[in-house]
């Protein structure tokens, strides 16, 4: 909410300049987000008196004015405005003045006549868009006095952010009360006196409230003799300061009183109300109304309408109707200050896609006890500035019978919650400055009565908050909780996640983070058809609508982005949740944490010392071999995942459940994600094997005798998996054969085309010196086995 510093000063004495006030309010829970001067620098702008005005001898549309600027002297100023005339008080910019648009005033000549200054319009001063002519100022101003001070432009606007629980601060008087609590001063309430006509309002009109639940209170007055004209300058300036456009005195006064008291008001052109009466009811099926903004609104029976005897005339608390708007023909107005149910206003406003200053206030809840005050305040102003005559009395339909909340307040709670004692007297004075009533204050158990404008205060904790925010959070000391028996640490899946992250970073892969939601067809794009994902009802974009089943779409999209940005190598991993569940159900999905890895492009940095090689299948497999626990319980087999190349993928099983799939991404998937080249990827469901990560290492004695190493190269069929041979050879390892490794695989001449050569390296080791005979015996056994089982030929 935008509040004028000067306006606040009208109700409360402020011992601080605007900066300090902003700071104090912020530290008391009314965050001032900004301070803005109402007008720019207006030094060298003065009030001037137009002594004379003559036609320019060489220009039809220009006038030569002699302007008396008091102590500053008299100036000859050429003016082009059609409304300039002798006898006016006007704003004058003298030499050296700088207009808000940056233009500087200098002595000049216009069509041969010297001109020493400028008579300004409101627009030129930067306070309105009005450029119909120069700004004619009130007659009582003194020529030569500085302009800003004379008309109240030397004001500062505070942008106060009001929290949802403090609608009572959506008004200047509410903020004034907060200031009073901080200064210890008293709020001076604005005048509400006026003279009534003899005839009573009840003789002219009647109010019927059919739905008291949605309209707990409806207060109305009736005024006639309205003269529609612009509102006084100070009021216009304050409305502008609050971000509202001045329209005419009646509309301006309703807005002004709303800003002042927080109570929205509505003025109906009484003669446009059929049968001259008001019926507050919900809309009938199919009813329509044209609102003030000219839009035809389709109403529903959930919406509360202010109607005349027949038709809706106003969407209660949201916006008035066009045909009962106050116009120049209006003589009599019915002035409404009502209270509406917050929730219904919110729903209506949302259903119509229509919000207003009024609905914004009602939505947050308004103190129903304030309707009469606001109504009287508006009558006071209407009488003063629109020559309105009020009929005697009000019609006040009030179904609110709320008793004020009383809270039993244990004084010891202050220390128990805050960790510090605050003097009893100080607490009492803070509460009273906020208009709480304190009873039994001699005891330790007070009865505190909450004022009607603070429904947010319900329990002791709320009262403590009130006390401490005024007393000052900065006065609360700093300490630490005593040691408790709760122990630190984290869950196994977090420990494993951290561990995986460290290893992957060590292998040169970068951690990525992508959105948990993506396109609805992401599973289809992965060729994993008929797997509907959980969808968000109100997505911000169709690209962010479905909760992911896999980390691959995010990672593949990242590769696509990076490849389009001329990157040659993208190695990424991501650890995050996937969400598997029924798309339509109310049940929470299974959130499984997974690890995704993708490798794309060059294996090594571009460097003269590296071959220009791209990642391949064995890179991703090797990373998994390094990353995953070396457990015999993990079975490495071929894979059948549709997202991967059918001939280049593997799967890892644990207790009959797949815990990882890896390999080359299927080219169709790559096309779907617009990734060129080839991607090697893995999806690891590590939550299924958490226990394997916690195996404690067990030390094996280091060998004391030299090892014997042997090599063996064999030629086998090209499509014979080497893994089978490895498994066979490893099955022979035991007492002295410790390790079998593949150190070369070769295809090409002189090996026949349908064959390949595979070279194994054997390492024998025992706790004694090995004899050639025993090593040879096992080597023979290996060779014979390879020959008989796999048709291997020795090379």
């Amino acid at each position: 909410m935008l509040v004028s510093y000067k306006w606040l000063q009208e109700y409360i004495e402020i011992p601080w300049d605007p900066e300090e006030l902003a700071d104090r309010l912020t530290m008391a829970g009314l965050e001032v987000e900004g301070l803005q001067p109402l007008a720019g620098d207006l030094s060298r702008f003065y009030v001037g008196y137009v002594e004379s005005c003559e036609k320019h001898p060489r220009a039809d549309k220009l006038q030569i004015c002699i302007v008396d600027v008091g102590e500053q002297g008299k100036f000859k100023i050429v003016c082009g405005a059609p409304n300039v005339a002798a006898g006016q008080k006007v704003p004058v910019a003298l030499e050296g003045a700088k207009l808000p648009n940056g233009m500087e005033i200098v002595h000049t000549e216009i069509r041969g006549e010297p001109s020493k200054g400028m008579i300004c319009s409101q627009q030129e001063l930067g306070i309105s868009d009005d450029h119909e002519g120069i700004w004619v100022l009130p007659e009582d101003l003194i020529p030569g006095s500085p302009l800003a001070e004379s008309i109240g432009l030397d004001d500062v606007i505070l942008d106060v952010s009001v929290y949802a629980n403090r609608p009572d601060c959506m008004r200047v008087l509410g903020i004034a009360r907060e200031v009073a609590a901080l200064t210890g001063g008293h709020v001076q309430m604005p005048a509400i006196d006026y003279v009534e006509k003899e005839q009573a309002i009840t003789e002219r009109t009647s109010i019927t409230v059919e739905n008291e639940e949605l309209c707990p209170r409806y207060t109305a007055s009736l005024l006639d003799g309205i003269t529609l004209q612009p509102s006084p300058l100070w009021m216009q300036l304050r409305l502008r300061a609050a971000g509202m456009r001045p329209i005419n005195n009646v509309v301006d006064i309703t807005n002004y009183v709303m800003l002042e008291t927080g109570q929205p008001l509505h003025a109906f052109d009484f003669d446009q109300l059929k049968e001259n009466r008001i019926v507050v009811r919900t809309a009938r099926e199919g009813e329509k109304m044209v609102s003030l903004d000219g839009v035809t609104r389709e109403l529903t029976p959930a919406m509360l309408m202010i109607c005349d005897a027949h038709d809706p005339k106003c969407i209660g608390g949201v916006m008035g109707g066009l045909d009962s708007e106050v116009t120049e023909r209006t003589n009599t107005i019915l002035l409404e200050t009502a209270n509406f149910a917050a929730l219904n206003i919110r729903r209506t406003s949302r259903a119509l896609g229509l919000s207003s200053e009024s609905s914004a206030r009602f939505e947050k809840g308004i103190d129903a006890s304030g309707t009469m005050f606001a109504n009287k305040r508006a009558i006071h102003l209407l009488q003063k500035f629109a020559s309105a005559q009020a009929y005697a009395g009000h019609i006040d339909i009030n179904s609110v019978h709320r008793e004020l909340t009383t809270i039993k307040f244990d004084l010891n709670e202050v220390e128990r919650i805050l960790g510090i004692t605050i003097p009893k007297k100080e607490i009492k004075s803070i509460l009273e400055s906020l208009e709480f009533t304190v009873d039994k204050w001699e005891s330790e158990l007070w009865d505190i009565t909450v004022p009607s404008h603070r429904p947010d205060v319900e329990i002791q904790a709320d009262v403590i908050e009130e006390i401490v925010r005024i007393w000052g959070l900065d006065k609360v000391p700093v300490s630490l909780p005593h040691d408790s028996s709760s122990d630190g640490g984290q869950s196994t899946r977090l420990i494993v996640s951290d561990q995986l992250r460290q290893i992957l970073v060590g292998t040169g892969i970068q951690e990525a983070l992508s959105y948990s939601f993506g396109r609805e067809d992401n599973n289809d794009r992965l060729l994993r058809f008929n797997k509907p994902m959980i969808k968000i009802q109100n997505p911000i974009s169709e690209d962010l609508i479905a909760l992911r089943h896999s980390l691959l779409p995010g990672l593949l999209s990242a590769i696509s982005l990076n490849s389009s940005r001329q990157q040659y190598r993208v190695a990424l991993f991501e650890i995050g949740a996937t969400y598997i569940g029924e798309a339509e159900s109310d049940k929470q999905p299974k959130e499984e944490m997974q690890l995704g890895i993708t490798l794309w492009g060059r294996r090594n940095p571009i460097n003269w010392g590296y071959a220009e090689e791209n990642y391949d299948f064995y890179d991703i497999k090797g990373i998994l071999e390094t990353l995953l626990p070396k457990s015999p319980e993990l079975t490495w087999t071929g894979g059948k995942n549709p997202s991967f190349h059918p001939g280049r993928q593997g799967s890892i099983m644990f207790n009959g459940e797949e815990i990882a799939v890896y390999g080359e991404i299927h080219p169709a998937v790559q096309r779907n994600f617009r990734v060129p080249g080839r991607v090697y990827a893995a999806e690891i469901y590590f939550e299924r094997i958490l226990e394997l990560f916690f195996a404690t290492p067990y030390f094996a004695e280091l060998p004391r005798f030299p090892a014997v190493e042997r090599d063996l190269a064999v030629v086998i069929d090209k499509d014979q998996p080497v893994g089978d041979l490895m498994n066979y050879l490893q099955s022979l390892s035991g007492e002295i054969l410790q390790e079998v490794l593949v150190f070369d695989v070769y295809e090409g001449k002189p090996i026949p085309e349908d064959k390949k050569s595979v070279a194994f390296s054997f390492r024998f080791q025992a706790d004694r010196t090995l004899k050639d005979d025993e090593v040879n015996k096992i080597m023979d056994q290996c060779l014979q086995g390879l020959q008989s089982k796999y048709g291997a030929d020795i090379r």
């Binding site: 939505e363 329990i459 300490s479």
Partner: protein, 340 residues
């Protein structure tokens, strides 16, 4: 005879000194010290001497031989060293070429902030816990004192999946899950993803929060202040000050926004802190007694404090990142900047 030995010695020493390659040195060695070398021949002619002279002569020849042998050895080492030096110089390479760098992995800046925060609080005995991201309305709102139709649960802010199922808009539901499962004392930290329907330079539809909760007998607002002061000092440096401003959260009472002294200008005022000298980094407060009651705690027995840190906000401040979307683009040129 003795004169002859002396001549051989002088000639040999000169030849040794004059040899400038290992090969020439060896040739000279054969000439003087070889089996048919001059010194050997002189020794063989010893028969011509009288038996009395022989031992003296033998001794002389042996002394000369020893001297020459050691000269040869010294010279040989000299020449070998010089030749190796020459060979090594010939092996010179271009040391200005770049080295064979290895790929360096990086931890995402968001993870870095979470890790740092976890470390700070684990040392204070906090347990790191998690909660579901797809959450029931009850945990995200109702149990946190946000009843139906409260403005804080506006459709515009929260992503809904069904009427009762939503993407959590805050990590605060983890407070409820924890308190439902456990009795006080409670000291937890819950980092995680949260979601709100908002997207611009400073808002992302997915972002991260870190929730802290301490519930025990005798926990006060002063403890909250002390804890957050410690956190700020660890995260932003020992000079960091904090400032608490009263605020409003439905599930804490009293509530406070927490500002830290600007990490760019140390409170002097700059563009980042909009000349206020302060940066807002988290929300906090004493757990509302109504929340404690909802989970079956007795608010007259125990009290608690809670806080929620915006991870992206801290990462952006700490690393000077000016657009939140960079955090989720996964542009490797961005990720490369977080090596340390």
């Amino acid at each position: 005879m003795q004169k002859k030995v002396q001549d051989i010695r002088e000639n040999a020493l000169e030849a040794c000194k004059g040899a400038n390659t290992v090969q020439k040195l060896n040739e000279a060695r054969v000439k003087f010290l070889g089996k048919k070398g001059e010194l050997t021949l002189v020794l063989r002619s010893m028969g011509q001497l009288s038996p009395e002279e022989r031992p003296l002569f033998g001794k002389l020849v042996n002394e000369v031989r020893d001297e020459l042998e050691s000269s040869w050895e010294g010279r040989e080492q000299e020449l070998a060293a010089a030749e190796e030096e020459k060979r090594l110089l010939a092996e010179s390479i271009d040391i200005t070429l770049p080295g064979r760098q290895i790929n360096r992995g990086t931890i995402h800046p968001i993870t870095k902030i979470i890790d740092e925060t976890k470390k700070i609080f684990m040392e204070m005995g906090y347990e790191i816990v998690e909660g579901p991201e797809v959450e029931l309305d009850y945990y995200n709102f109702e149990a946190l004192n946000i009843p139906p139709d409260h403005p804080a649960r506006d459709m515009q802010d929260t992503f809904f999946i069904t009427k009762d199922l939503l993407l959590r808009s805050q990590t605060s539901p983890v407070q409820i899950h924890t308190m439902e499962k456990k009795q006080p004392p409670i000291r937890i930290l819950a980092p995680g993803k949260v979601y709100r329907a908002d997207s611009d330079v400073t808002h992302s539809p997915m972002f991260h929060q870190i929730e802290g909760l301490v519930v025990d007998k005798g926990i006060t607002f002063a403890h909250l202040k002390g804890t957050l002061q410690l956190f700020a000092e660890h995260m932003f440096g020992p000079q960091t000050k904090i400032r608490l401003r009263p605020s409003y959260f439905p599930f804490t009472e009293p509530s406070a926004e927490v500002d830290v002294s600007c990490i760019i200008c140390s409170g002097e005022g700059c563009r980042v802190c909009q000349n206020t000298g302060w940066l807002e980094i988290l929300g906090s407060g004493m757990v509302d007694p109504r929340v404690l009651e909802k989970v079956g705690y007795d608010p007259s027995e125990v009290t608690g404090f809670a806080f929620g840190v915006g991870v992206e906000r801290i990462a952006m401040l700490k690393y000077g990142i000016n657009d939140i979307r960079l955090l989720f683009d996964n542009d490797v040129r961005f990720l490369d900047q977080f090596t340390s």
